[in-house]
Subunit: 336 residues, 2 copies
């Protein structure tokens, strides 16, 4: 990675075209230039294979046309979708994406923020877990799934409504004794409301329920212990489960089936996220689908919003229920 790109400058183009450098700049930026001059410049650009140096431009204009996305990883399908749709929304606006993975390492997130600020990105979109993350001001910052303060806009799916919807659906499909299990971080973020919504609807429907919240130091074995504790004579006490994520739902279903408990015959299961096999095929579990595309689009359009003071500090986008084979829907025909 040594050789410098033997690239030409506006000066070279100007010389080649026999015009001044300012004229070249105008042509490159699509400003009005007399026809014959424009032609000559374009010819010279073509001939030399000239490419604008965006570093020079950024230094001058203080604008990089680049946005940073900070996210734990891209292997989790939900994050992968987010990455994809955010890039699409940026690309539509002729922006590039500087992608940074925190790998869930709390100390990494402030480092990444510092890094991308040094790159003078025009904005930052971040999905973070660091407890006391310091949000820089002076740079447009949008967070996903986590509310910091009114001055830092947060975009999320309507987690509370999603929790309610899960309870309602389980009830509608015949469940009378359900549980919510979440496997998340200790900090309070938007996804925490999945439980609140679930509980709210359970109470309203007068449906018996239990909840289990696991913190970071726990792993799936703790979920297993919990479920074992609620099994009697090879049957689970619950006839419905709502899991914090599709991934947890998937793991749980496998565990239940290994223990001879049928899904959805004995226990109906609903997850959260809306993950599809290979990103594009069928849904892996019955689930509350996050409107990922809309979340991405909202993040980007808020970032580009001209007046930053009229931006709402929290935007919750509507979710929907999706059959995925792990519930006993009346009309599961509406598969996708």
């Amino acid at each position: 990675m040594k050789e410098s790109q033997s690239t030409h400058t506006m000066m070279d183009v100007a010389r080649e075209a026999g015009v001044a450098i300012g004229t070249v700049s105008k042509v490159v930026n699509g400003k009005k230039v007399a026809e014959p001059y424009r032609i000559r410049v374009e010819k010279a650009i073509e001939k030399l294979g000239y490419q604008v140096n965006k570093n020079g431009r950024a230094l001058r204009t203080n604008q990089t046309n680049t946005v940073a996305l900070i996210i734990p990883n891209s292997t989790n399908p939900y994050f992968a979708q987010l990455v994809h749709y955010i890039d699409l929304a940026l690309a539509q606006r002729n922006y590039s994406m500087l992608l940074c993975f925190s790998e869930y390492r709390p100390k990494r997130e402030p480092e990444l923020i510092q890094m991308v600020r040094q790159n003078r990105v025009d904005g930052i979109i971040a999905l973070t877990y660091t407890p006391d993350l310091d949000i820089p001001n002076g740079i447009p910052f949008i967070t996903i799934d986590r509310f910091f303060s009114v001055s830092v806009p947060c975009v999320a799916s309507d987690n509370f409504a999603g929790g309610r919807l899960a309870a309602q659906k389980l009830h509608e499909f015949g469940c009378r004794n359900v549980a919510f299990i979440r496997f998340g971080s200790t900090l309070t973020n938007e996804p925490s409301k999945r439980k609140d919504g679930f509980v709210s609807a359970c109470l309203e429907l007068e449906m018996a329920f239990d909840t289990l919240l696991m913190t970071e130091d726990k792993d799936f074995r703790d979920v297993q212990s919990y479920l074992y504790g609620h099994m009697h004579d090879g049957r689970l006490d619950f006839d419905g489960l709502f899991l914090g994520t599709d991934m947890l739902a998937w793991q749980t279903i496998r565990f239940l089936r290994e223990n001879g408990i049928r899904v959805p015959e004995d226990v109906q299961v609903i997850g959260y996220d809306g993950i599809r096999a290979f990103g594009s095929l069928e849904y892996l579990v019955s689930t509350i689908v996050q409107p990922v595309k809309e979340i991405a689009e909202t993040c980007v359009s808020m970032l580009f919003s001209p007046d930053r003071h009229s931006i709402p500090s929290l935007v919750c986008l509507p979710v929907r229920y999706q059959y995925g084979g792990t519930t006993r829907d009346q009309n599961a025909a509406e598969d996708n």
Copy 2:
């Protein structure tokens, strides 16, 4: 996205510390500076919250510490893994990743190459499908899964060996009449060799086989037609199938089961890629696993290789077979 980041410059730091700007630069870049001066500069940096402007630096040094990755998307789990591991390899070297999605749109790929060249990225890693893609010279360029010329290093899994391995495993597990189905682009790339290896091993093992190659204008319905054509009395003619990707294997298995054909009892199925549920749980099908992490690491280390003339033009990394529930392995205990 209006306000400029009210950020300080080296000049401000120099003034604050009462030193010359050159001294600040040296401190920032970790060069030797007399202790008392260094302290004063560091204090000033701290006080002002100074952040290097990498655009200025890039303009001066012609180095951005940024590498572009051009790939169709991040929703396909294989691509998602690639994105993840490439970023990790870059991050280790203190490089950032400019991520660009081509969405399989042939015209988009040259546009993206031009864009990232304007950003003066230090290198490009690309997984592309555009038939006559023009690889710029003057900038380090590594391709994945597709060989262009000896001057453009290509990194891939050992597709030929993978094809052979699939045939060998199917044979070992009792298959005697197998088929390979691939659903790919018309251009010849490394994954095309999956078929060659498969055929090679079938001939060697004297195992009856058939192959089906679908071009871009086809879709899964054509695979269905093919399979229907090879069904008699509710049974498939083949007792083993090797699919070009795990995704195709997954679709095929679903189709077979819908038609009352059991997997792996009636037909054993092997895919290619090594996709896991949710990126980290169990393998979705029995498969030939691509060494994604090693591919990523190789791409990056080749990009950073000091002498670009000693770089091999094609690197094929070893694959392995992985049980995933769709074959009848002797010792399927070695699950993961």
